[in-house]
Amino acid sequence: MSTQTVELGASRSGEPPRSLEAPSLRIGERIIKALLWSAATLSVLVTTGIVVSLLIPSIAFFQQVPLWEFLTGTVWAPAFANPSYGVLPIVVGTLTVVFFATLVAVPVGLSSAIYLSEYASPRVRRIVKPILEVLEGLPTVAIGLFAFAVLTPLIRQLTPFLPWTGPFSIGVAGITVGLLIIPLVSSVSDDAMRSVPADLRQGAYAMGATKYEVALKVIVPAAISGIIAAFVLGISRAIGETMVVLLVAGAGSPVLSFDPTKGTQTMTAYIGSTATGDIAQGTITYDSIFAVGVLLFLMTLAMNILAIRLVKKYREVYD
């Protein structure tokens, strides 16, 4: 390093210094920046807009129906001459769907992820993984029809001892939603397990662990935050699933019931079947859709917060 001081404004050879200003206005750069900024702003605005448009009719709704009555009431009959707005029946419907969907999707999704990540040969993976990803995107209405036409009769035949009535069943709807989210749960869990560093796997094998022990005692714990994220994604989808529930559980009048063999409404099914063209804006029925929407939104939010807590608690940090 030279300690020579350089005279400001003079270059080595005594010529005028080279300019340090931008040679052009860099118009393209500015346009790109502006476009990106608008896109970001737009997405924030849209999200805010959704929340606001849910909130405004809800506020109108809660001016007529007390919040407490809404949350604890056990009769949901908004369209009746003598309407009642107790949301519990359709909340129970949604929770029943979530319960059965979880029962199906978590064990099957996790097992298939363990198989894919730890057991399957690269060849099998190359074939199965894209299939899973395609299944993830299957239109839910097709799955709903399949469940209505095939799955429901099948399950009934296999379980003649259950008190089946009518064509609809909320339990079967839950199972169907479970089938629907298996690819999602499996694929996301698989990604999480594959991203566990290979030397952890090697270390466990080198200690005489079997494949099963490596998977269950090392890989799954190390990937648990990703796996829980997979469950949350799946369950959030189960909460929000509408089409399958409409087709399989029907949109009949909801009764507060924990019987999975009966058809009933869920929160989304109510919204989906009520928000049709002939519903007048400003009526209480109209506003009730949004109140249910807000509750749905909050339930999903709570679900996600719970998941973040779980992840923090059980995460095994490696880096």
Partner: protein, 286 residues
């Protein structure tokens, strides 16, 4: 080099292999006898025709330039190569006369008997205690687990540093401590042999010195095979040294590793037979 095994050889693999299939005539002072061992990755011959005996309760070092197949050969001793798709071992790897690749041999049991420590410390993202207890728990040795853990940590010269923080995550330790934890974890499985693939290459000189002292201590109980790029390390700790090199096949251009010279460490470093060995250990390459 004189045989220094104090106790008669124990043969724990017999726990896994009920009947020994045609035990081959071998030197009873050897833990391993390799006979014309070749390792392939797919069609590529990575190491060819290695024959050597690895002695009991000694430290054997594998040295040689990068790519000569030291790690490959080391992994073939406890069937870690099984985990690499396409990897294949030919020839005989005999552990106390038993073919490690024999039809009745269970790779999981092989790794219980022949443990391994890796280049980069790879503790599990669990507590220090759970790391060490991992192996014993798998083996169903859950009684006196605290004592087992303590003994293994003492064996790895780590106990005094961690005895008050056994519940802490292993990732909070220094690299050198993590590597000793990996050694403790390996000891806790009660192996017969410990394979170490460049166990100090990620560590500072002080930690390296500790692990070298530890190896010398451990060879009283275990047979140790170590891969190292550190010539002084081999000279300091190893009883026997094997020098490998790699040469390109003129026709196919593929590179194959081979054993050049295998003898006592003092002979390899002071009076090697092969000029390639001499050039390598004296730092003259090419």
């Amino acid at each position: 080099m004189s045989e220094t095994a104090q106790s008669p050889p124990v043969i724990p693999i017999a726990r896994a292999v009920q009947d020994r299939v045609n035990p081959v005539e071998t030197d009873s002072a050897n833990t391993f006898d390799l006979q014309n061992v070749r390792v392939y990755y797919g069609d590529m011959l990575a190491v060819k025709d290695v024959s050597m005996g690895i002695h009991h309760n000694q430290i054997t070092a594998f040295i040689g330039p990068s790519g000569c197949g030291k790690s490959t050969l080391l992994r073939s001793l406890n069937r870690m190569n099984d985990l690499i798709p396409g990897a294949r071992v030919e020839g005989d790897v005999l552990y106390h006369g038993i073919d490690v690749y024999g039809p009745k041999v269970d790779p999981v049991q092989v790794r219980n008997v022949i443990g391994m420590v890796f280049q980069k410390p790879n503790p599990f993202p669990k507590s220090i205690y759970d790391n060490v207890a991992f192996g014993p728990r798998l083996q169903g040795r859950k009684k006196n687990l605290d004592d087992i853990v303590e003994e293994a940590l003492r064996g790895a010269a780590l106990w005094d540093e961690v005895k008050d923080r056994l519940k802490d995550n292993a990732y909070g330790m220094s690299g050198g401590q993590q590597q000793r934890l990996c050694i403790a974890r390996c000891i806790a499985v009660q192996p017969d042999v410990i394979l170490m693939d460049e166990p100090c290459s990620a560590l500072d000189p002080v930690s390296t010195g500790r692990i070298e002292d530890l190896m010398v201590e451990l060879k009283k109980t275990y047979t140790i095979v170590i891969v190292t790029h550190n010539m002084q390390q081999a000279a300091r700790v190893a009883d026997m040294t094997a020098f490998f090199t790699v040469s390109a096949n003129d026709e196919t251009g593929s590179r194959t590793g081979m054993l050049v010279e295998y003898a006592s460490t003092s002979k390899i470093f002071s009076d090697p037979v092969d000029t390639r060995t001499e050039n390598y250990v004296s730092g003259r390459f090419g």
